[in-house]
């Protein structure tokens, strides 16, 4: 939902970042307002996953320039946990398994950390049980998964559902979902996408990072950004995704080549 007067939640300006000595992001700018759904599309290696990790504060990525303002504050100086408490959420492409840590306990600690960030009271175990059971329905997840260790032995689809369950509990203002559709069969995709649609509202925003159009068949973006070589090459509406689907990414290469010849004229 595009409302030009909606408050800006996330403002990325000329962001550059590297991993080890390899520059990955080479000047990304993106403004996200409340109520909007953005999709960043691009080939593997275009930098789109890096963008999500940098936003969440992964220690392996070093920001070398530019700025990110979140709700008006400098996001990049915050520890990852503080970003999460402030309402920034990263849905992982490959959620890790954490043996020995109970999923329920993990969800409760995370939910309470976020609540503390909102100045809300901590939920005790009973109140949290009620909440988690209600939110399980968003992703049609079996409560049995609460009793297991975090993601341990979960299938690819179960891990993604667990991600969306966390999103449902943490009620983020900006949710960055990194390849949430990868590894999902069509039923699981529908459930996960249904969860994301359910959670999207006028006060929050979603940034979908994806390789394929198929996720965008079930979640309609307001903006589509095409990323290549660490930059956003083009921004358009949902029809841009369809164009990509039809024409493939080859035209992106041509545009990129043109860009590299005359960098100053584009962007």
């Amino acid at each position: 939902m595009i409302r030009p007067d909606a408050p800006v939640l996330l403002e990325i300006r000329d962001l550059t970042a590297r991993v080890e000595d390899q520059p990955i992001l080479k000047g990304v700018s993106l403004t996200i307002r409340a109520g909007e759904i953005h999709a960043v599309m691009g080939r593997n290696g275009s930098g789109k996953s890096t963008l999500s990790k940098v936003l969440a504060g992964h220690p392996a990525y070093t920001v070398t320039g530019g700025s990110v303002r979140y709700m008006g504050d400098d996001l990049l100086t915050l520890e990852p946990e503080l970003r999460a408490r402030a309402g920034l959420f990263l849905g992982f492409q490959y959620p890790v398994e954490i043996p020995g840590v109970s999923n329920l306990e993990f969800l409760r600690v995370a939910t309470n950390a976020r609540r503390a960030g909102k100045g809300e009271e901590e939920l005790d175990t009973f109140a949290f049980e009620d909440l988690v059971r209600e939110r399980l329905q968003v992703v049609q997840m079996d409560p049995a998964f609460l009793e297991r260790s975090v993601n341990e032995g979960f299938s690819g689809g179960e891990k993604k559902r667990n991600e969306i369950l966390q999103m449902a509990l943490l009620e983020p203002l900006v949710a960055v979902l990194d390849e949430t559709d990868s590894g999902l069969d069509i039923d699981a995709l529908r459930i996960v996408a249904g969860g994301v649609n359910h959670l999207a509202g006028p006060d929050n925003a979603t940034l979908l990072i994806t390789h394929y159009q198929r996720l965008l068949d079930v979640i309609t973006p307001d903006y589509v950004h095409v990323m290549a070589a660490g930059r956003i090459l083009r921004t358009g509406g949902k029809e841009l995704a369809l164009e990509l689907e039809e024409r493939g990414y080859d035209w992106v290469d041509a545009e990129l080549a043109a860009l590299e010849r005359t960098p100053a004229e584009v962007g």
Binding site: G57, P59, T77, E79, E81, F92, I98, P99, V109
Partner: protein, 480 residues
């Protein structure tokens, strides 16, 4: 990035118990000889049988060699450079706590072990040992009403000589091994617990060991006897000041469980571990053994080992009585340059004896952590069973973990199961937890407690939370 600054801050987390109490101490001269053994015995006004035991042990020790089979390395120990007896200067053990040097009471209070009437832990009786002597034991009268004896070994030698003569050295003989022989020759103090027939000890018993003097060895001796149908839960805690020289701690613990008796022995060990370069710290060379002498008796060891520069320790069970049960639950954590070679021995002698071993080793920094365990089933141990589970967790990429399980069975039909696993706390796991609003240190602690849960569940309730915190503190800053 952001979290690496936190790591730096946390690495320097100081050892909280490193202070030295300034108190006048009576020490004997450095070095070990037959005369020193006699002197210790004389100072404690011991009966002849005990002096004989000491001298026999000392002579055997002279013939023995320091063991070198463990995965440990340290410069040779000069046994003539150690002081074998140090005691805070005060006459006679005080009848009432009011007469104990307030400095000592203050020391224990600082360690979180208040002894005074008003502040003492409820439902835990404490024997406080400072250097070589026990300075106070709380709740003695209340325990005496139930016939339970809980006092220092020195007092027991005077007041209950018959029991000491009957049981001392019967589980760990004077010549059992090099360090046990040394202890048997020079042991200074420790705790004695006696639970008479049919009595369930009404409260937790606990001994708190504090090494204060810099050049003193600590050689305490603990003996716990549970008669037929008796039961007791006992907890041992330890700390020491920070010195840049190494100190030797060679204790012996003997447990005896008669028919249907049950002894639960828990240790939360937090000796000074040396600095991050491995300078200083305690050498913890301890012999702990329990004997399930009676049928259906039960001995359970739970240990949380976090301190010491070097740990060499194998709390064991000799399962002699039919249907007796031995258990060993251990968390051993090493960080920086610490070394630990620890585990257990389950010696199945009687029929249908059962043992369970759950060992969790956590290695961080440049440390080395080995599990070494023996499960032995003798010719009469028909229908005996063992289950062992040994898990290692590596933190960072400089630490080492080893597992040495030994199985000797003379029972072809016996059921012996062994499971082992190794895992590593990865930066990605930590980031995952952080990205859900969980602070770095809490994330580490969540993962470590998850890993240790099976063992912590065995600790007395009062101490389980303590152990959790202790591990978190010891590990802070070791990941990243």
């Amino acid at each position: 990035m952001a979290s690496s600054a936190t790591v730096g801050d946390l690495v320097s987390q100081p050892y909280k118990y490193g202070f030295v109490t300034d108190i006048e101490t009576e020490k004997i001269a450095k070095g070990l000889s037959e005369d020193v053994v006699r002197l210790i015995s004389a100072k404690k006004q011991e009966p002849a049988f005990l002096l004989d035991f000491r001298l026999r042990s000392y002579r055997q020790w002279l013939q023995m060699e320091e063991p070198d089979w463990a995965s440990l390395g340290h410069p040779p120990i000069d046994y003539q450079e150690i002081i074998y007896y140090a005691a805070p200067k005060q006459q006679e053990k005080k009848a009432s706590l009011d007469e104990v040097d307030p400095k000592l009471l203050e020391t224990f209070e600082k360690l979180g072990i208040p002894l005074s009437e008003q502040k003492r832990l409820s439902n835990v009786a404490v024997d406080a040992v400072f250097d070589s002597v026990s300075i106070a034991t709380t709740y003695r009268e209340k325990l005496a009403e139930h016939g339970v004896i809980f006092c220092s070994i020195s007092e027991a030698v005077k007041d209950h000589a018959d029991l000491i003569e009957k049981y001392l050295g019967t589980v760990v003989p004077g010549n059992d091994n090099y360090f046990a022989a040394l202890n048997s020759a020079v042991f200074s103090d420790g705790s004695f617990v006696f639970i008479p027939k049919g009595v369930e000890c009404p409260m937790e018993l606990s001994t708190y060991f504090r090494i204060n003097s810099g050049d003193t060895g600590q050689f305490e001796r603990t003996l716990i006897v549970a008669e037929e149908g008796a039961s007791v839960s006992y907890l041992e805690g330890c700390t020491a000041p920070m010195f840049d020289t190494n100190q030797l701690h060679a204790a012996v613990v003997e447990l005896v469980a008669l028919d249907d008796a049950s002894i639960k022995y828990s240790t939360v060990q937090n000796w000074y571990a040396g600095d991050e370069n491995g300078k200083g710290g305690i050498y913890n060379f301890v012999t702990k053994r329990g004997q399930c002498r009676g049928d259906r008796s039960h001995i359970s060891w739970t240990q949380v080992e976090t301190g010491s520069a070097i740990t060499w320790k194998y709390p064991s069970c000799v399962l002699q009585g039919a249907d007796s049960v031995g258990e060993f639950y251990s968390v051993a954590l090493t960080n920086n340059r610490q070394q630990a070679d620890t585990g257990t021995k389950m010696i199945h002698v009687g029929p249908r004896t059962r043992s369970t071993i759950v060992s969790k080793g956590i290695s961080a920094g440049h440390s080395s952590n080995s599990y070494r365990g023996l499960v032995q089933l003798g010719p009469k141990a028909v229908g005996a069973r063992n289950y062992s589970q040994c898990d290692s967790m590596l933190i960072g990429d400089q630490a080492a973990a080893n597992t040495y399980p030994y199985i000797r069975s003379q029972q072809p039909e016996a059921r012996i199961e062994h499971e082992a696993s190794t895992c590593r706390i990865s930066a990605d796991q930590l980031f995952y937890l952080q990205s859900r609003g969980i602070a770095f240190e809490e994330a580490v602690s969540m993962m470590v407690s998850g890993f240790c849960r099976d063992v912590f569940n065995q600790l007395p309730m009062e101490f389980a939370a303590e152990a959790d915190k202790l591990l978190a503190l010891k590990l802070e800053g070791s990941v990243g």
